[in-house]
């Protein structure tokens, strides 16, 4: 789960990492009030869980409270990379001397988190990292040992050899790592980590992603539906894994790998998958029905391809779930192509045939039929 900038900054502040003074505003009027309180100039920043907001016009500078109000009005009515901001962060505009970078990410091959710093931070950190690869310091953190002081020094010295600045940076890096561990962060970034003209070190912008699977121990991040797509939100609430694409062949499978493969097969047969949908290896009747409801509520979907390979689950149960969903949703049998295989698949096929639904054993045949129906 991606946190919003103001949430990450609240964390940083809690850990003793300096951030600019600021407050969240939900309306343009509130933004004006915050700006008067803080004193101008201020930055007005869209609160959306994506990066590169500035490039999408989601960050504006204001030199009067009225300008802050206008900026907030504009931002609150725009979309930033597909997300509609529900609030803005109004912050003191800081005069920056230098922009550095501090970040952490999971290195899956090493099975460890890595921490990185570069003195060349700011908006185009990717480009500058490509330009100055030697300027990026990188340490792997042993999860049983934690971040060692020598690693902190390496990261800090990479940014500045000035002992006073390096000391401040070391404190920031240690505090930052504590947050990564405390809040199960899978990615976190302070960019720019700025040295202001007055010598203060400040986290000007920050991002973080909390591991969704850790939310049971972080109830403060109540699981939120962060998709802008209503069907994805509906699926999330029903506990079905669903990701929408822009094609017209709805797909459903039991198991994530098989669900991905099913989309790929549709494309391979010349069709365009409308979604990814995994109802789980067990494919309970209830999950199948919820999934069917979500998939068929997408107006682009012309036909639904169900690919079920039954291992432990009985094909009969899966078939019953499909038949019930079709009846409850009032779908025509022609809107469905089912491939059912594995444990008690014959019995399941019988149930589906009685409901007028065509059943295939061969997955490629089923895929081709679904693609054919979508194209007529």
């Amino acid at each position: 789960m991606r946190l919003l900038e103001h949430e990450v900054k609240a964390m940083l502040a809690e850990a003793g990492i300096p951030v600019p003074r600021g407050r969240v505003a939900r309306t343009p009027e509130e933004a004006r009030e915050v700006a008067s309180e803080l004193g101008v100039p201020v930055a007005v920043k869209a609160q959306v869980p994506v990066g590169k907001r500035g490039k999408a016009g989601g960050i504006k500078l204001a030199s009067t409270p009225e300008e802050a109000e206008e900026a907030a009005r504009a931002i609150l009515s725009m979309e930033v990379w597909g997300h509609r901001p529900e609030s803005v962060l109004v912050e003191e505009a800081v005069r920056v001397g230098a922009e550095h970078y501090l970040g952490t990410i999971l290195d899956r091959s090493a099975r460890r988190m890595v921490l990185m710093t570069t003195p060349y931070g700011g908006m185009d950190v990717e480009e500058s990292a490509a330009l100055h690869p030697e300027a990026m310091a990188r340490v792997e953190v042993n999860p049983l040992v934690g971040l060692a002081q020598f690693q902190v020094r390496k990261l800090a010295w990479n940014v500045s050899r000035d002992p006073e600045v390096a000391k401040q940076l070391a404190r920031v890096i240690s505090a930052f790592w504590d947050l990564v561990e405390r809040y199960d962060l899978l990615m976190a970034e302070i960019n720019p980590l700025a040295v202001a003209e007055d010598g203060r070190i400040l986290a000007l912008d920050a991002r973080a992603e909390v591991d969704d699977n850790s939310l049971f121990r972080h109830p403060q991040f109540s699981k939120r539906a962060h998709s802008a797509n209503p069907r994805e939100r509906m699926a999330e609430e029903a506990g079905v894994t669903y990701v929408e694409l822009d094609g017209d062949v709805g797909t459903m499978a039991n198991g994530a790998g098989l669900a991905m493969a099913t989309m790929d097969l549709v494309a391979e047969a010349g069709g365009r998958p409308a979604n990814f949908c995994d109802v789980g290896g067990g494919a309970s009747a209830k999950a199948v029905e919820s999934a069917m409801r979500v998939i068929t509520s997408n107006p682009n979907v012309k036909v639904v391809l169900v690919n079920a390979l039954c291992g432990i689950t009985s094909g009969e149960d899966v078939a019953r779930g499909i038949a019930e969903a079709v009846a409850n949703l009032g779908l025509g049998p022609e809107s469905l192509v089912v491939r059912l295989e594995g444990f008690r698949a014959e019995e399941g096929a019988e149930i589906l045939r009685e409901a007028g639904i065509e059943v295939y054993k061969d997955p490629m045949e089923a895929v081709r039929e679904a693609v054919r129906r979508a194209s007529v």
Binding site: R108, L144, D211, L245, N254, G255, M260, F276, L309, I312
Partner: protein, 293 residues
């Protein structure tokens, strides 16, 4: 048969009193797996499917003697503790079926297993199966796997069953199939399992079933090329049509920051001389072609 699984190995099931644990203990027993004990804290003294249940791994080991492996069905919030308990008790092979374990927890127990010299399969894995030995540590349906010479290593569940079934229908089988798990951090990598198959006499070829996200496939390709892998390897990679930035069911299946794309994996695998099947159903043909040579 690579020595990961062998006939007669003594197995415990942690979380045996839960719905999943109970069901799969039965199915593993039916397949021939020797389950000597179950563990659920607070449920000691019961019996599940004729298997005695203990309150702790330590007690189980004390009572039944040597334990070679543990299959773990403990729910995610308690899985870290269960894995550490098994490692601390000296069990050398852990199959962690549990899905949704936090990444930081997995990173810790994987690191601890490395220190202990233990092997972790998973988390979020269907497990491992050796049809010729009659041993299954996991939740895969036993009947789709036939004994034979094609090693399978995979990041997914049902997709693996699909491939095993298509091999079986062509008269092929597997000495050992290992699901490494669909999470971002897993105990075994593709490379680790390829290494198990490398010198194994029964293994004639290996099927690698990958998916988008991470660079496990790229790492495997690099390894195959570097050591001049002595056996044919064929691959299938799921997620060619997956959009970037979206998690495709598995926590590990995500293209992020341009990393983990299908194209990158295809290039790496092809570059290492590993043919990549367009569909899972082409795999038997690819294998037949390579093995005939």
């Amino acid at each position: 048969m690579p020595p990961l699984l062998r006939k007669g190995m003594r197995v415990i099931v942690q979380g045996i009193t839960g719905r999943q644990g109970r069901t799969h203990a039965r199915l593993m027993l039916d397949y021939g797996t020797e389950i000597v004990a179950g563990v659920t804290p607070g449920k000691g003294g019961q019996e599940v499917e004729g298997v005695p249940v203990f309150d702790s791994v330590e007690e189980a080991v004390g009572e039944v003697g040597t334990v070679d492996a543990s299959v773990i069905f403990v729910p995610a919030p308690f899985a870290y503790d269960a894995v550490m308990e098994a490692l601390e008790a000296g069990i050398g092979l852990l199959v962690v079926i549990t899905e949704h374990i936090p990444v930081h927890d997995a990173a810790k127990f994987v690191e601890y297993a490395r220190l202990k010299g233990a092997t972790i399969v998973g988390p979020n894995t269907p497990g491992a199966i050796a049809p010729g030995e009659g041993v299954k540590l996991g939740i895969m349906p036993g009947d789709v796997f036939a004994p034979g010479g094609v090693g399978i290593v995979s990041r997914s569940g049902t997709l693996t069953y699909e491939i095993a079934l298509s091999l079986k229908r062509r008269g092929m089988g597997t000495p050992l199939t290992v699901g490494i798990g669909g999470d971002p951090v897993t105990g075994l990598s593709f490379t680790d399992v390829l290494e198990m198959f490398r010198e194994d006499e029964e293994t004639e070829a290996v099927v690698l079933v990958g998916e988008i996200g991470g660079r496990a496939e790229e790492d495997a390709a690099e390894y195959v090329m570097r050591i001049g892998y002595p056996k044919p390897v064929v691959a299938y990679v799921a997620g060619r049509t997956a959009p970037p930035g979206r998690r495709m069911g598995h926590a590990g299946a995500i293209i992020s920051g341009g990393m983990g794309t299908y194209d990158s994996k295809l290039r790496a695998l092809n570059g290492a001389g590993i043919p990549v099947a367009k569909t899972p159903f082409e795999i038997p043909d690819l294998l037949a072609g390579l093995l005939r040579r």
